[in-house]
Symmetry: C2
Subunit: 206 residues, 2 copies
DNA sequence: TGGGAACCGTACCGTACGGTACTTGAATTT
DNA sequence: AAATTCAAGTACCGTACGGTACGGTTCCCA
C-alpha cells in the first residue's frame, strides 16, 4: 500500500485537505458529527465552497469515499514462480492485510456511513464502497488464487467460490462485530494463519 | 394472571403493538423514517405515551431490539443419536436458518440501526444486538458442534475456532454486502450446502 | 355514579441542520 | 493600477425533529 497525494487530479489540494478533515470528523464522531457547518469551521473553508465543490451533502460523502480510495492502492506483486511456501506466504500476507484494512478507523467509519444511508439513498454509497473499495483487494486475491491454480498448488472448480471461501475463513463475523463497535482482534496474524491453513486444507494440492 | 402474548412479559400488548409498528417503519424507511411523531401517528398513540413507556428515543430503539428478540426463539432439537447424515442435515439446517435470519428485513434494519448509532452511544445497541440476538444462534451451533465431537463425527481442538470457521464459511461477506444494500442470495440452500461440505472436509472424521 | 388513571390528539418550544445569499479580502490577470 | 476571480466568514431561512404540556375521552373500580 502506498500513499498517493491524489495525482489522479480528481480533487484539488485544497479539496483534498477538506476531504481529509471531513474523514477525520467522521472517524471521530460518526455521521452526526459531520455537519456542513462543522466541516467548514474545522477545515477553515466556507460552506459555500463545500456546496460549489460537492453539490450537496451526499456529494460530499461520495467524494469522501472516492478520496479515501484514491489514497489506498494495493501493492500488486509481479508474477514470480510460485512455490508452496511462497503461495502460503502470499496468502497469509493477503489475509493479514485484509483484516488490517477492515479494522482501520476510516474503513469502519465509511462502512458505517454507507450502511446507515443504505436505506435512504438506494445504496448509492454502498455500491460506491463495494465497487471501488473492494475491487482492488478482490483483484489481488483473484490473481493470487489463479496463480496458485496455474502452478498446480491449488485445486478448485469455481474461482469465485474459492475466493469467497477464503474471505469467509479470514473475516468470519469479525467485520460486522467491529462495525457494531467491538474492539479489533489482538493479533491479526494468528487469525490470518488459521484462515490460510484451513483454506489450504480445503483447496491445496499438497 | 392473564394470558399474555408477549412471552417475556416485558411489554404490554399495547406496547408490543407500538413496537411492532416501529419495526415496520424502520424496515420501510430506515432510521430517518422512525420519528417519534411519525410512530405516534402510525401506531395511533400519543408521543407522551412513547416517552412514558420508553424514556426517550434511545430507549425506544433498545426496546425494539428486545421486543424483536423476544419474538425469535430458535428451536432447540432434543439430543438424538447422531449419525453422520443426521449431523450433516442439522448443520445444513443451521446454516440455512442462519442465512435466512441474517437476510431478514427486520434483522437487517436493526443491524443497520445499531451500526449507525455505534459511533454515538458507545455501542450500546450493538452490544444489545450481539449479546441477546446472537446468543440463541450461537448456543444452537455450539451444542450441535459439541454433539458432533462427542459422537466422534467431528474433530477439532478449539470449539470456538471451529464455530467461527463454520460461521465464516456460511456467511462470508454476505452479511456486510446485504447491510450495504445488495439483494439477498437467490438460493440460500446451495450456499448452506457448500459451507457445510467445506466444514466437514475440515473437521469431519469420515 | 363518581373519581381516578391511562391515554389519545394536538399544539407548542427550542434547537440544530442543510442550503443560500451577501460582504470582505486576497490573489491573479490584463 | 484596475478589474476579475475565488473563497472565507457570517448571517439568514425554512424545516424537521426530540421532547413537553395540556385538554378531552375512555375505561376501570369503588
Amino acid at each position: 500500500m502506498s500513499i498517493d497525494p491524489n495525482v489522479s487530479g480528481e480533487f484539488s489540494p485544497r479539496q483534498s485537505a477538506v476531504l481529509a478533515e471531513a474523514l477525520r470528523l467522521l472517524v471521530e464522531g460518526g455521521d452526526k458529527a459531520l455537519t456542513t457547518a462543522g466541516l467548514a469551521r474545522a477545515a477553515n473553508c466556507s460552506k459555500e465552497s463545500l456546496y460549489k465543490w460537492f453539490g450537496d451533502r451526499d456529494g460530499l460523502l461520495a467524494a469522501m469515499i472516492s478520496f479515501q480510495q484514491s489514497k489506498v492502492r494495493t501493492a500488486e506483486r509481479p508474477g514470480e514462480r510460485l512455490t508452496s511456501e511462497a503461495l502460503r506466504d502470499h496468502l497469509e500476507t493477503f489475509a493479514f492485510d485484509l483484516i488490517e484494512v477492515l479494522s482501520g478507523d476510516v474503513s469502519l467509519a465509511l462502512n458505517r456511513l454507507a450502511i446507515g444511508q443504505s436505506s435512504r439513498d438506494g445504496s448509492k454509497l454502498g455500491r460506491l464502497l463495494v465497487e471501488h473499495g473492494r475491487r482492488q483487494i478482490d483483484r489481488r486475491a483473484r490473481s493470487l488464487i489463479d496463480a496458485g491454480k496455474r502452478a498446480g498448488l491449488l485445486r478448485f472448480e469455481d474461482a469465485d467460490g474459492a475466493y469467497h471461501t477464503l474471505y469467509g475463513l479470514i473475516v468470519s463475523d469479525l467485520h460486522v462485530r467491529m462495525l457494531l463497535g467491538e474492539p479489533a482482534l489482538k493479533d491479526n496474524r494468528v487469525q490470518a494463519r488459521r484462515a490460510v491453513d484451513a483454506f489450504l486444507t480445503l483447496h491445496g494440492t499438497v
